[in-house]
């Protein structure tokens, strides 16, 4: 439900609606008090923020778009973008856990699931007690999602799934996965179907937790399926619609990840600006030097531009308009802003930026993945160009 009927475009949005302002402030307060103080430790010790995820669940943040009857907050994607940015500003790892649950797990079930599936697979996943994951990528294909080699064939009243999925966020902490497998290889990408798989489950095992550069408090691992048997009713959407489901899901997921990247970028800017006030060199705070000022200005412009793109994509989605191009633009702009801002933040901090005493180095490490997951920057460019060329009838 959109809460500002009439405000359907960014140009009409002079100021965020009051509800959204309060939501943003509430998430910011939560991030400042509960996430920022522990983010460094979560990163260092690779600890999943279970307590915080439950607290966020209690607030409604783990199921923002889900209608209240199913236990969600019943809010729109603009609200989701705001919440994602604020939470990621506090802790990027917590942000990705929230994003995957909202956009990649609950999202497709909300859109393509039966009423029964929604009750079974969404309702328990709104409180933060259980989280879901999205298993599309494989060791042999990431960007080339159509080449899925995980198979599912029918045996009586069961599907039998075989294959390996790679790079799955939340895998070690999830209670369910949406697994994409091909039910007919000859149909290529039109032969892929989506399946709901509970975790743990016989025939499903997890690979080792990846030791990552950043977002270390969230778990990433392979999911291995060996004769994993699930009831026929666990297929999500019509047979052969898996690729379409994945692509549409990622469109929305990109808005969430764009917001996560914004949070990281914003945290970097604040870190750098704060340091520029305090650190003196050549007799004055370094914020007085043009070299530093230009960096801060460039960071601010990059963030503001990416933020407006993110809000635009969210608004288009909320108005039920096409938003594929804008979501790709937002994700591209925001992730590149995150890597740019975190890079420059370290530069502003100098030596201090290189040590763990300051959060700049963590932002740098956290930012890097945003240009890769949920569609690499290269894929985003292909998506944008594809839409553009259609518009120009080429």
């Amino acid at each position: 439900i959109s809460f500002f009927t009439g405000c359907r475009s960014l140009s009409q949005l002079a100021e965020l609606p009051e509800t959204h302002q309060i939501l943003r402030q509430t998430c910011r307060d939560y991030a400042d008090r509960e996430l920022s103080p522990i983010a460094a430790r979560l990163d260092k010790e690779h600890v999943y923020p279970a307590k915080q995820i439950q607290e966020l669940g209690a607030m409604g943040v783990m199921a923002m778009e889900v209608p209240e009857e199913l236990g969600g907050a019943g809010m729109d994607y603009l609200a989701y973008s705001l919440a994602m940015e604020e939470i990621s500003r506090g802790c990027a790892s917590t942000g990705v856990v929230v994003s995957v649950n909202n956009s990649l797990y609950i999202g497709p079930i909300l859109k393509f699931g039966t009423e029964e599936q929604k009750k079974q697979w969404i309702q328990p996943f709104t409180t933060g007690e259980k989280v879901g994951c999205f298993a599309l990528s494989e060791p042999g294909n990431g960007s080339d999602a159509g080449a899925a080699s995980t198979t599912a064939h029918q045996e009586g009243d069961e599907w039998v799934v075989n294959g390996t999925k790679a790079w799955i966020t939340n895998s070690w902490d999830a209670s369910a996965a949406i697994v994409f497998a091909t039910t007919d290889k000859t149909l290529k990408h039109k032969g892929i179907s989506a399946f709901l798989v509970p975790m743990p489950h016989p025939g499903l095992s997890l690979g080792k937790k990846e030791d990552k550069l950043g977002i270390r408090a969230s778990s990433t691992a392979n999911i291995i399926l060996e004769d994993c048997r699930i009831p026929l009713g666990y297929m999500l959407g019509p047979r052969g619609s898996g690729f379409k489901i994945a692509m549409q899901t990622l469109d929305s997921g990109r808005i969430g990840i764009a917001a996560q990247a914004l949070g990281i970028a914003q945290a970097s800017l604040e870190c750098a600006a704060d340091y520029a006030h305090r650190r003196t060199a050549f007799g004055a705070p370094i914020g007085k030097l043009q070299a530093i000022q230009f960096k801060l200005a460039d960071m601010a412009v990059a963030i503001e531009g990416a933020r407006l793109l993110t809000w635009k994509a969210a608004l288009l989605r909320d108005s039920k308009k096409a938003f594929t191009k804008e979501a790709a633009m937002a994700k591209l702009a925001a992730s590149e802003a995150a890597t740019f801002c975190s890079h420059q933040a370290i530069q502003v901090l100098g030596g201090m930026g290189y040590v763990t005493d300051m959060p700049a180095e963590r932002h740098y490490r956290d930012a890097r993945i945003t240009e890769i997951y949920e569609g690499t920057s290269e894929i985003q460019r292909l998506v944008i160009a594809g839409q553009l060329l259609k518009e120009y009838q080429l």
């Binding site: 607030m59 907050a73 019943g74």
Partner: protein, 256 residues
């Protein structure tokens, strides 16, 4: 206790996000342009306590009150999102707002308490921008009600209230009659984060705007701020070799 209405005051106070608090060039106050207003932390605790009492079905209704300009409505809305039932915004702006002090606010609260037939007023012990710690006490005096200030524990027993107060000497247990005024101290509770569904429900809750004059209150200040200045710059310390040296230096400085 069939509490008719519980009036909880939410003081919008200046929340200084940046590390720099700057005195205005004319020394009449601190710079407030562009500084964020948010709910006073002790008032947040008071609202939380009120909502808790309502959840325990010990009181019927929580009314959130704020005195200030238009932006105060956002603070009230946050209280509604935490669980208050309705809000009253007492519109005070401009110079009147700059000069608004505890005495004026207490008069407003007293008038509202009578108008709403409230049985309990819950406020924060003090505002973190001016640290006055007077409003609760003055309100109780104006209404001739008992007061339980610096409360770290509140429990209702029939038509009386058991209260634990944090005082310099330790913890004081008192029992007061209702109607009463209670001011919240830090350890009374941990305020909840508003849930998203409640933030949306808050949109439909009513906030009524009134002017101090409607309540028969004159907000003219009885105080005149002569000067506001920064604390003196911290001086460098001094090291001494022995205790005897220390005593000599203290005597020289006229400290002993």
């Amino acid at each position: 206790l069939s509490c008719k209405v519980l009036s909880s005051v939410v003081t919008p106070c200046y929340c200084f996000v940046s590390p720099q608090i700057r005195v205005k060039p004319d020394n009449t106050g601190v710079v407030t342009d562009g500084v964020k207003h948010s709910m006073n932390p002790f008032c947040e605790i008071a609202v939380e306590e009120a909502v808790k009492l309502k959840e325990k079905k010990l009181i019927k209704e929580v009314v959130a009150v704020s005195c200030g300009p238009q932006q105060s409505q956002e603070t009230i809305r946050t209280a509604l999102a935490m669980g208050a039932d309705r809000g009253i915004h007492v519109d005070v702006s401009g110079k009147d707002y700059e000069n608004l002090g505890p005495l004026q606010v207490s008069k407003i609260l007293a008038a509202l308490a009578k108008q709403e037939d409230a049985q309990l007023i819950l406020l924060g012990k003090q505002a973190i921008d001016d640290d006055c710690n007077q409003t609760g006490q003055m309100t109780a005096a104006l209404l001739d009600w008992p007061q339980g200030t610096f409360a770290s524990e509140v429990s209702l027993e029939g038509d009386k209230i058991n209260l634990v107060r944090e005082i310099d000497g330790g913890l004081e247990h008192i029992k007061i009659n209702t109607p009463a005024v209670i001011t919240a101290d830090l350890r009374l509770n941990t305020p909840r984060y508003a849930t998203l569904p409640n933030i949306m429900k808050a949109k439909k809750k009513k906030i009524v705007t009134v002017k101090p004059a409607d309540l028969g209150v004159d907000v003219t200040s009885r105080l005149e701020v002569l000067k506001v200045e920064e604390p003196p710059q911290r001086q460098a310390g001094m090291k001494v070799e022995t205790v005897e040296d220390l005593v000599v230096k203290l005597k020289e400085a006229g400290r002993v």
